[in-house]
């Protein structure tokens, strides 16, 4: 495995900037009532061989006649035959992907953006904080960390969602829970059914663990409120803002800074992000309507 992983791989876009390449849906696995993990395979053999990505990057998935959506990659970066995307069925594109189903065909452009700075993780503790569907772009990081576990001291995964039924990757969460190499903590906003675990926002979990601020790097991905709360909590715990990385969501349209949609201050989320160090965006992070 190449260590220089944060070098941005070249996107695959067909012959033209905006032209998606055909991909086949190999598998569609239900994560919960409204979330599916979709494995797609680039049809063209040559392109498939060239296609590389790093954790935290996203693809534009195109359904003809419906539109395109930016979807983060959730599978193992060493797995090249297919690329996994975990989608929540909330928009017309994601619903259409579900309708097309296993065996069907969609279009893909990507990978886009800059992923998690895995190359800058020299040692120390790594804490991953995910909220809801925000766990999806963190899953490849977990795979990577477990493969390179000996380089790090402590690895923690904090995950929060609305109810136990909203959890993603449940078998894996359970597996990680039992894995001594990673501390996994899951919390829900509302306990339903037989849930006996923690209840409350995911940032509350930070109080349960002892953070060594000097050697901690945090990766955060969740809804806006979670990102803010996590950033604030980590600041309270004296984690340096240069070592807090947040993956942001915006309406990516072209994927490489030419359509203007995803601008966040002077950043293009699609190109400069979606992963930002908190220190890069500290000026605007807590401001409204930027």
């Amino acid at each position: 495995m190449n260590l220089a992983i944060a070098a941005r791989p070249e996107p695959i876009c067909g012959s033209e900037t905006m032209l998606p390449v055909p991909v086949r849906i190999l598998d569609m696995h239900p994560e919960n009532f409204n979330t599916r993990t979709v494995q797609v395979q680039i049809v063209d053999e040559g392109l498939r061989q060239r296609y590389r990505w790093v954790p935290g990057q996203f693809n534009m998935i195109y359904v003809p006649g419906i539109g395109e959506a930016a979807i983060s990659i959730s599978s193992d970066p060493d797995q090249h035959e297919a690329v996994g995307h975990t989608i929540r069925l909330v928009g017309s594109v994601t619903r259409a992907i579900e309708r097309i189903g296993k065996g069907g065909m969609v279009g893909l452009r990507g990978p886009f953006g800059r992923g998690w700075p895995l190359d800058r993780l020299h040692s120390g503790d790594v804490i991953l904080i995910g909220g809801g569907i925000g766990l999806a772009p963190l899953r490849p990081v977990v795979y990577w960390l477990l493969k390179h576990r000996d380089r790090f001291r402590r690895v923690m995964l904090l995950f929060g969602c609305r109810t136990p039924e909203d959890r993603l990757f449940v078998p894996e969460l359970e597996k990680w829970d039992e894995d001594p190499r990673i501390d996994t903590l899951v919390t829900v906003d509302n306990a339903t059914g037989e849930w006996v675990g923690p209840v409350g926002v995911v940032t509350k979990l930070l109080q349960r663990i002892r953070i060594n601020a000097d050697r901690t790097t945090a990766f955060v991905c969740g809804p806006r409120m979670l990102n803010r709360a996590a950033a604030w909590s980590l600041e309270q715990l004296n984690v340096r803002s240069e070592r807090v990385f947040i993956s942001l969501e915006r309406n990516m349209n072209c994927g490489f800074g030419q359509c203007g949609h995803c601008q966040y201050g002077s950043k293009f989320v699609c190109k400069d992000g979606p992963v930002f160090a908190l220190s890069e965006i500290a000026d605007i992070f807590a401001k409204e309507e930027v």
Binding site: G65, I66, G67, S92, V93, R95, A96, R99
Partner: protein
């Protein structure tokens, strides 16, 4: 969720077209889709459309297109049944989305209106107001315009069939006008153009014909009517004239109504 009865056996959505108080122009817009008409009636089942056919299929309907505003007691009742009959209710045109030109009565004494127009006012059973459909029932989607742009109806149907959100802009007419390369009537001719507060969709017709937009697609998203009004005052138009400009085919929809009320008071 659409009901199974809202589709034919071969899976076509049953579509109903209804008329309330209106000029028929928005229904006619459907018949004016000459090049696409046969494709359209092939892709959907025209289940109820009095202006076009005698035959009727029973409800439920997958899509209901409603033209016209509610201005009589009978219409006030009928819209509730229609809401129950249709899974996806779409209003087409200014009357159905804002009350239309007949909503001018809402600022007037309807009894006096009735006496002026009709010899036997006692026979007229009209409500004091003409109101948009959404003032009575929940509306799933609104298509603006006096008349509606027929290609927006087509887009609505095509998008619904495809399962995507219809591409109906809510931004200003200016964007459409500039895309088309039409010269600005307000800036380069000093005409009182409502384009900067009007929703796009017509294709910037009026500016392309050398006249100021008169707002037949109604207010855009979050319009700043007062700022434009001040510009008109600067151009020499009186509050009364601005009131009239706003009170036309979409006068009774909130942003225009509120602004026109303010200008009427300044008069």
């Amino acid at each position: 969720m659409p009901r199974t009865g809202a589709f034919t056996a071969d899976g076509k959505p049953k579509v109903a077209v209804y008329k309330f108080s209106s000029c028929d122009g928005c229904q006619l817009a459907i018949l004016n889709l000459e090049d696409q008409l046969l494709d359209l009636v092939g892709a959907i089942e025209v289940a109820y459309f009095v202006e076009a056919r005698r035959r009727e299929l029973p409800p439920p309907y997958a899509i209901g297109l409603v033209e016209g505003s509610v201005s009589t007691p009978e219409e006030e009742e009928r819209i509730h049944k229609i809401r129950r009959d249709c899974d996806f209710l779409v209003t087409i045109g200014a009357c159905a989305t804002s009350g239309g030109i007949q909503a001018l009565r809402n600022w007037a004494d309807v009894e006096e209106f009735t006496r002026y127009v009709y010899a036997y006012p006692e026979y007229i059973k009209a409500l004091d107001t003409a109101t948009p459909i959404a003032a009575h029932v929940f509306v799933d989607f609104e298509l603006r315009g006096c008349p509606v742009n027929r290609f927006q109806i087509l887009e609505l149907v095509a998008a619904t069939l495809a399962g995507r959100k219809p591409a109906i802009p809510t931004y200003s007419l200016c964007i459409e006008c500039k895309r088309r390369g039409v010269s600005c009537r307000l800036v380069s001719a000093g005409k009182p153009c409502l384009g900067p507060v009007t929703q796009a969709g017509c294709g910037a017709l009026c500016p392309a014909y050398n006249r100021a937009c008169y707002g037949c697609f109604g207010p855009m998203e979050l319009p700043n009517v007062d700022s434009l009004g001040e510009r008109f005052i600067g151009l020499g138009y009186s509050p009364a004239e601005i009131t009239r400009m706003l009170r036309s085919f979409n006068g009774y929809v909130e942003p225009f109504k509120q602004a026109s009320d303010r200008y009427a008071q300044r008069d």
